[in-house]
Symmetry: C2
Subunit: 330 residues, 2 copies
């Protein structure tokens, strides 16, 4: 049986076009059944003839805008995100992908789908590029601003299950993000989490900011406030480096020639750092499967977000998480 | 009268050599009197004949190693950092530069020199490279792990005074680092700080991680735990990008040629991102002047750290901070 993925066709910054395109690109590569949720009259013209019978559409007349409050999302039952999530809730889909309002997506998913057994708080997982041309699993990157030690400890367990199932790492190494490697380092919350994680298989203790990017550890755990800052700062650094390089190149004809010869290198680098290669951040700890994509997602990002959703469902990572948390709860 | 700078000659990872070299380089450019503190028999042979009468040496037989606990530093009165700080305490020097154990430097400086009037907690200031080829003032980057709103509010005032005096910015803009620009964003501590900062001249509200690097704000305020993570993550991103570029270049003769033609661009970029261009982080809020340099400082970093110390003393930023905090205390 094919995995069914509900896709919020309306929420992204660029309207339904990149989302429908990404869905079609995914259909060419992966086995799954897409259900596009949104305004039929906007979606239908974007689907080429040969794909019309491969894509279902569920009508939703309302769209939650980026400027709307996330708290309103639960009241807007006719919105594309609400209806897409409810397809998972009702068993009509296995997973949902949305490039819409991320706060709304997270709150609707958490409250309509419910948390997995034992999970105190779901967390948003992102995959950061690293030196080994692999990805480092970083969580939480925004679902929970103020965390307690027990939340971080659960993120460690969930992140480890995710890395194991999605990235086929036998025993993922897990580090706690802190201001130094020594056990005495950390703030009050991470110090408390450290005590709870002592003895967890794969736990390597505290890791530092640079360890997210040097490939020394598979999973890095932090609260959502810090995860957001690390994510945005890293994007800022990469963007500033690119800006400076372009600026210096512009001023020298020799450097322009050099840059042309290095075109392939810059292309490879861009691909390695490109958010679209990952496509979306799974909201982990919630029943079913929810992939939160960037509002600015292009069709490639949507295609890869759908792939993430398919793999998430296929690997059964949720069962693994419940079992792992069950073991730590005893 | 020349500014007198006490320099811990022993604490760095590479021993006294880069420190003495950096001091001599500074002497060639700036007007000041250096006092090197450490083992005379190691320092003396490193000073060329022509400089022997321009540099004083104060003997210190003990060195605090990077692996030593910062808490022991106050008991080790014969250590180079303790003696260097005490030269400032006793009025024999105006400022101190140390590339030694930063925890030890911060605690000895804070406790032996004392805090400025009204200052609850001193903060470590760093200068981050940005798109405008200027520097963004970021504090705290490691002096205070767990902060309260009133601490962050003081960091904002101190950072603003620093940017005004050291960078000649008439009215520095100050942002509070958070997970979104809206006033509703932030964790419990930053939300509290936001309320205290409302109405402060130059306060622009919340800023995001990317704003540290895009030059949109002069001063960015956060707690020392987060500042450390942002600092180390940024270094990690820059280092990973460099690593990937080198790796891709190596695999293509065309790209190698391109890289040769782009040599100047990479040199400019390196200079822009180079820590040594800044040289050290001032510990702000403490009487006198303390510049904390990286353990791995080369002679260029030491030279620039000394320049920072001279400017810090010359501008009288401490008087400005006390006056500004006095105004907010009323």
């Amino acid at each position: 049986m094919k995995v069914k993925i509900a896709i919020d066709a309306m929420g992204g910054d660029f309207g339904p076009e990149p989302i429908v395109k990404g869905t079609i690109a995914a259909l060419k590569h992966y086995r799954f059944e897409p259900i596009l949720v949104g305004k039929k009259e906007e979606i239908l013209p974007l689907i080429p003839g040969g794909f019309k019978d491969k894509i279902s559409i569920v009508e939703a007349e309302d769209v939650i805008a980026m400027s709307d409050a996330a708290t309103d999302a639960l009241k807007r039952k006719e919105s594309s995100i609400y209806k897409a999530v409810d397809l998972v809730r009702n068993g009509e889909a296995d997973g949902v992908v949305s490039a819409g309002h991320s706060g709304a997506t997270m709150s609707v998913a958490t409250l309509r789908l419910g948390r997995l057994k034992h999970v105190l708080r779901p967390a948003l997982v992102t995959l950061m590029p690293n030196k080994n041309k692999k990805r480092t699993v970083l969580l939480d990157v925004g679902a929970n601003v103020d965390c307690k030690p027990e939340h971080l400890a659960q993120f460690a367990v969930m992140g480890s299950c995710y890395a194991h199932d999605m990235w086929a790492i036998t025993l993922p190494t897990v580090g706690l993000l802190a201001n130094g490697e020594e056990e005495t380092k950390g703030n009050d919350v991470t110090k408390g989490a450290f005590q709870k994680l002592r003895g967890m298989e794969g736990f390597v203790g505290n890791v530092e900011g640079r360890d997210i990017f040097n490939g020394s550890v598979d999973v890095v755990v932090c609260d959502g406030f810090i995860g957001n800052l690390v994510l945005k700062s890293s994007e800022g650094v990469a963007s500033t480096i690119t800006h400076l390089i372009k600026d210096y190149i512009r001023k020298s004809p020799i450097a322009i020639t050099g840059a042309l010869l290095m075109r392939k290198v810059f292309k490879l680098l861009k691909k390695e750092l490109d958010y679209a290669e990952v496509g979306g951040a799974p909201l982990i700890g919630v029943k079913g499967c929810t992939i939160v994509s960037h509002g600015k997602s292009n069709s490639k990002a949507i295609k890869n977000a759908i792939k993430q959703a398919i793999d998430f469902v296929d690997t059964g990572v949720n069962v693994h998480i419940e079992r792992a948390l069950d073991a730590t709860a005893k």
